[in-house]
């Protein structure tokens, strides 16, 4: 039989990737997010809390493709899923949310400022648009060092209206820096829809206006995101050029802890709209796709469900039994 060399496609590459692990990690982030409001109402978590339910495809489809550490990830205040996908253990995330000394930021950061620099996760950010100028600096450092690494910077549709985002885009486009921008387009900036906030809603056009090429992606289809991201990242490593992904997705829950009851929803979204959005749950869609390819059985999925549930319970127990930071750590880390 003749040896035939088959051209390796992006699809094969992805199928070679550990898709079961990606599926399991999506389950983990979803279960973690589902647990946090409960813990908030038990007064174990305080402050603000922003869940990622429905948006998992944006991290599942990109972060597993990165070389961590080496590459860098920047995110928003809606950052629990980014930390998990970068490899931060769930127990360190939950401990941080509960303000314990064992949290990934020693209890100093909280929900909006999870960080895990050893794994390349430079953190969430409480300021809308905040990470985008920072990503310009990270990208500059990577080019300065002639590195093949990239910086992935997540930010939302609302952030695209911040001025600093455009300053950074101009400079990243001008200097040609290896930053992959991921616009988490869930159609709402808190309670304000795109249509009510933004004159020009073609985000790819806006990136291109600054010299950054890009494309639009369906974020509810993880395999699709993986394919697009694989191509983009490979090209970026070779060329060092920036790229922009407008990833459309749905945020299944409200903006944050103060916006998650039916009454609040009716101020800017209807229950019917939420129900419609939930029909394309990225976890269910991935399950279906993997199942159809023979890569995930019902038994596998059930086993993972049980494992993940146990992992979250264990993580919660760890966090709840962890001490708060010692009082004399109040003045620590103000300076290096």
């Amino acid at each position: 039989m003749a040896n035939t060399t088959v051209e390796r496609t992006a699809e094969d590459d992805i199928l070679g990737h550990d898709l079961q692990h990606i599926y399991r990690t999506m389950l983990l982030t979803r279960r973690l997010e589902e647990s946090v409001y409960r813990k908030f109402h038990e007064a174990k978590i305080g402050g603000y809390l922003h869940r990622y339910d429905g948006m998992e495809g944006l991290v599942a489809g990109i972060i597993p493709l990165l070389e961590l550490p080496g590459d860098y990830v920047l995110s928003t205040y809606r950052d629990h899923a980014h930390a998990i996908f970068c490899g931060t253990p769930a127990k360190e995330v939950l401990a941080e949310l509960m303000g314990r000394a064992t949290g990934c930021a020693a209890g100093k950061g909280g929900s909006m400022h999870l960080t895990d620099p050893v794994r390349g996760f430079l953190g969430g950010d409480g300021i809308v648009g905040g990470p985008v100028p920072v990503s310009l600096g990270v990208g500059y450092a990577l080019k300065y060092r002639k590195s093949r690494n990239i910086c992935v910077c997540y930010f939302g549709d609302g952030a695209m209206n911040q001025g600093g985002v455009h300053e950074a885009f101009n400079m990243v486009g001008l200097f040609r820096l290896p930053v992959l921008y991921v616009l988490e387009n869930n159609g709402y900036a808190m309670g304000t829809s795109l249509q009510r906030s933004t004159g020009q809603t073609d985000f790819v056009l806006k990136a291109e206006a600054h010299g950054i090429a890009g494309e639009r992606v369906d974020g509810m289809d993880v395999l699709h995101v993986l394919k697009v991201a694989r191509k983009a990242i490979d090209r970026m490593r070779d060329t060092g050029e920036p790229y922009f992904l407008q990833i459309d997705c749905e945020r299944f829950v409200g903006h944050g802890i103060g916006d998650d009851n039916t009454k609040a929803w009716t101020t800017y979204r209807t229950q019917a709209q939420i129900d419609e959005a939930r029909k394309r749950d990225p976890i269910v869609l991935l399950y279906n796709a993997l199942s159809a390819r023979g890569l995930l059985s019902d038994a596998d999925a059930e086993r993972m469900d049980a494992e993940v549930a146990a992992e979250i319970e264990e993580a919660i127990a760890f966090a709840e039994s962890s001490p708060e930071p010692p009082l004399d750590s109040l003045y620590e880390n103000v300076y290096s």
């Binding site: 960080t115 100028p133 950074a168």
Partner: protein, 325 residues
């Protein structure tokens, strides 16, 4: 040792640090091809190339983000604001990002960045170009704030700033750029942060200041000496960390203090000095601490009005006499 201008001393500091450490780079508006709007970075683009001397667009948020982000992953940027008035555009990146990332990350992410540029009033640049806001930065936990008054300190403090692993707000004074001074050749000449300098020893009254205010105090002290009033002049050098020990030691000797700065009086840094001296040396004071500062007005354009808004040695002399009365 060489005699050179304050502005040349700054350039020497940056040049030496860039030669010593390949991770140090400069960025800012007109720092490269234009040779710097005050010629501080003159010749540096030719010497180090565009990778290490980066001309940026007019984007202070971008400049601050570029510096903050690159520092977070291990480079040592020196970012210039053309004047500290323009840094206001970048306040979120400065305060909410550069100053806080080390604390918010539980100490796991460093931010070894220097933000530098001229502050200073007095040349009819009018309101929007005439503020420094050093008390805002000194107020913010996470920053160090250095404000050299001499050419010697311009070199020594800037080198220390570049080697510091924390975000440093480095405020030069446009009116001091031409000031000559003796600057050591030694590339390891560093002026430490948190160590004030007694510029003039005296016994009757302590004058505390920084940046150009120090020269105002020295001039006042010289004139007062002719009347038999002997002032001690302290140059803080850094507002954060603040060397209160030197100030208190002086106050325990003189029992009188006047705090001086060009920036606005209301909620200015002199208020902090006054509070601390009262808290920590009340029993050593024979009179309340007085302040000499800029008028609480947006800086007017007309030459006579501007002159009236900026403290003079007459104002310092009046304050000293009042406190001694």
């Amino acid at each position: 040792m060489a005699t050179m201008r304050y502005q040349q001393a700054l350039r020497l500091a940056m040049t030496e640090e860039m030669e010593r450490d390949p991770d140090v780079f400069l960025c800012g508006e007109e720092v490269g091809q234009y040779q710097g709007t005050y010629r501080v970075t003159e010749g540096m683009l030719d010497k180090f190339g565009p990778r290490r001397v980066v001309d940026t667009p007019i984007s202070e948020i971008g400049i601050a983000g570029m510096a903050t982000g690159s520092a977070m992953v291990g480079l040592r940027p020196v970012a210039e604001f053309m004047t500290w008035s323009f840094a206001l555009e970048a306040m979120d990146q400065l305060v909410n990002h550069a100053a806080k990332i080390t604390y918010m990350s539980g100490g796991r992410i460093r931010c070894p960045v220097v933000f530098r540029g001229p502050a200073g009033v007095g040349t009819q640049l009018s309101a929007q170009h005439s503020q420094s806001m050093e008390s805002w930065y000194a107020h913010t936990p996470g920053f160090k704030v250095a404000m050299p008054a001499t050419a010697t300190d311009a070199k020594g403090l800037l080198k220390t700033a570049i080697r510091d692993d924390n975000p440093v707000i480095f405020m030069e004074h446009a009116g001091l750029y031409g000031l000559q001074g003796d600057v050591p050749d030694d590339p390891e000449y560093l002026v430490p942060f948190g160590k004030a300098a007694v510029r003039r020893a005296g016994v009757h009254c302590t004058l505390v200041s920084y940046s150009r205010g120090v020269h105002l105090c020295l001039k006042a002290a010289e004139r007062l000496a002719a009347e038999g009033i002997d002032c001690e002049v302290i140059d803080l050098r850094t507002l954060v960390p603040l060397d209160m020990d030197t100030v208190l030691e002086s106050v325990r000797k003189t029992h009188h203090a006047v705090a001086v700065h060009e920036e606005w009086r209301n909620v200015g840094f002199a208020a902090e000095l006054s509070a601390r001296i009262h808290e920590q040396a009340f029993d050593d004071l024979d009179a309340p601490v007085l302040r000499v500062a800029g008028a609480d007005v947006p800086m007017p354009y007309a030459k006579n009005l501007e002159r009236a808004a900026i403290p003079t040695d007459n104002d310092v002399i009046a304050a000293v006499k009042k406190t001694l009365a």
